[in-house]
């Protein structure tokens, strides 16, 4: 029972509001404006863990909620030839109907080895780089996430999370949420000893 609670649940559904921007505020703003009345095409690029999938899923949800004609295409470099033609066609249709497009990749469109006609369409709007959060920004993001749930975290605990788990924000948030559920169940405050105890249980369960 306790072990089940400790399993890392999937991170909360991504929204534009629960994205911790760090140095990526311009990207977040560009997506919001694409849904409002700004430039409709946004391409975001950066390494894994920099927030591409979070932002694109959030964008897609927000566009659907606003009943806006929009598409989000993550990691475009993985598209095959026929899929690239389909995306090319989609770009043309969205441009003609003033619909919005958010797309992403690990490099700017020009360096993804795509068809030239697709590449230039992806680069026709705002192209911005996403940077992974640094440790201080991750700590701030964890604090903000915790504060939203009425929890105060001490610095020691955050350091522990950042040194013992994968450091992408999805995992970090999921770990914090799991710990939150565990603390509710044990009716104990979230502290480092509680986290160690929880991890100990998890290890024991794995063995």
């Amino acid at each position: 029972m306790q072990q089940l609670l400790l399993e890392l649940a999937p991170p909360p559904p991504p929204t534009l509001d629960n994205f911790s921007p760090g140095k990526n505020g311009a990207a977040l703003k560009a997506l919001r404006e694409a849904l409002a009345d700004g430039e409709r095409f946004v391409f975001l690029w950066g390494p894994g863990g920099s927030g591409k999938t979070h932002l694109l899923r959030a964008f897609s949800e927000a566009a659907a909620a606003a009943k806006l004609e929009a598409a989000a295409v993550d990691d475009v470099a993985r598209l095959g030839e026929a899929e690239q033609v389909a995306l090319f066609d989609l770009c043309n249709r969205l441009r003609a109907s003033k619909g919005a497009l958010a797309a992403s990749g690990e490099a700017p469109p020009a360096r993804l080895g795509l068809r030239a006609d697709l590449r230039s369409r992806l680069a026709s709007g705002i192209v911005l780089q996403l940077r992974p959060l640094d440790d201080a920004e991750k700590a701030a993001a964890l604090n903000a996430h915790a504060a939203a749930r009425g929890i105060a975290l001490d610095a020691e605990l955050i350091r522990y999370l950042l040194t013992h788990f994968d450091r992408d924000m999805g995992t970090q948030i999921a770990a914090l949420d799991a710990l939150d559920r565990y603390s509710l169940q044990r009716k104990r405050a979230i502290t480092l000893p509680l986290l160690r105890e929880a991890l100990g249980l998890l290890d024991a369960a794995k063995r």
Binding site: A30, A107, R111, A116, S124, I126, T163
Partner: protein
Amino acid sequence: MQGFWASCLTRFEKELPAQQFNTWIRPLKLDASAAPSGELRLLAPNRFVLQWVKERFVPRIEAMGAEFFSSPIRVSLNLETAAAPEPVKPSAPAIRAARPLALRSPHAERSSLIPEFSFEGFVAGKANQLARAAALQVAEHPGTSYNPLFIYGGVGLGKTHLIHAVGNLVLAQHPSARVRYLHAAQYISDVIRAYQQKSFDEFKRYYHSLDLLLIDDIQFFTGKDRTQEEFFYAFNALIEAHKQLIITCDTYPKDLAGIDERLKSRFSWGLTVAIEPPEQEMRVAIILKKAEAVSLKLSEEVAFFIAKHIRSNVRELEGALKSVIAYSRFNGRDITLDTVKEALKDLLTAQNRQITVDNIQKTVAEYYKIKVSDMHSKKRSRNVARPRQLAMALAKDLTQMSLPDIGDAFGNRDHTTVLHACRTIATLREKNHDINRDYHVLEQVLKG
């Protein structure tokens, strides 16, 4: 003069590429009416050719004349009246003036035209002026000047913009005209649909009834036999009925692979014009104009910097400007040269590789001329331990791996060892110039 003009024709035919000769020189006629001696009177079939010959070829003709007669001659150009197409007056101008906003042709809906793509918004320069002039000529005299107009050029140079501009202008002057823009891929889908629904009669009726058909990216027809066949019929029907056809393509028609020969030869029945990539000066002009369109005052220095670094095409140039604007506005900064450099820095030096811990170990080992196995070994001598610590620090900074995972990758070391290595390197980089330089060099190599 007749003898002189014949000699001009012979020389031009030798000097010019066949396409240019056939487009500009061959259609010229010698004016038979009496002319004062020392004057060559030529007639051009339309204003477009007239303008072009006047700008490009008259000086050459004058030079030939001076040589031929051993004295200077005058060259005059006029429109061949019979062949000059009558410009069609826009119908019902009173309504247009009274209710300009309400005027929307019943066919505008189906035309798929984007109203924003106008001639006014099209930045002209050396690279596209011929195509622009030809498009304007065709828009003013659809069906009677060049048919088809075939515009070719690379990606993102404004082909689509230009043919929409023709459609919009024609529709503005003839609100009842049946105008249709479509991408070649859509035409292919239409053929497939007609095939599946056995509705070819309807398909034919629709396409053959258009007054102006604008078809984009014809190279998509490559290898699509059924589509090519249908298009062949549509082509013939439209041209015969003097209905205008405009085609765009990414290559010169003769170079198209997988397209039926009889279609290819028909593509060059009218006028074939190229759009070239914009040269630097034109790129600067484009940036300044696009900035102006969003009420942004941009210094020439800034426009010059963007134009210098984004050379590929107009579409990406516009994208770069939008990105710079988004970046500076968000950061609350004016668009200065420094801001632009900062905004475009990553785009211009972007990394293309996924950085892995293996990659880091290999690169660092090569750099310090040690073995990759030393990254995992227990050896603690300084010449091995320091590079290993540097590699761990790079792994922490450049990947999202957990510290325990990084420790594992370095010979099953504890995460505290990784943490210690990162702190050591951070301290050393502040104190030791060489270590700091090594770190930056390696970071750069890894980012590609």
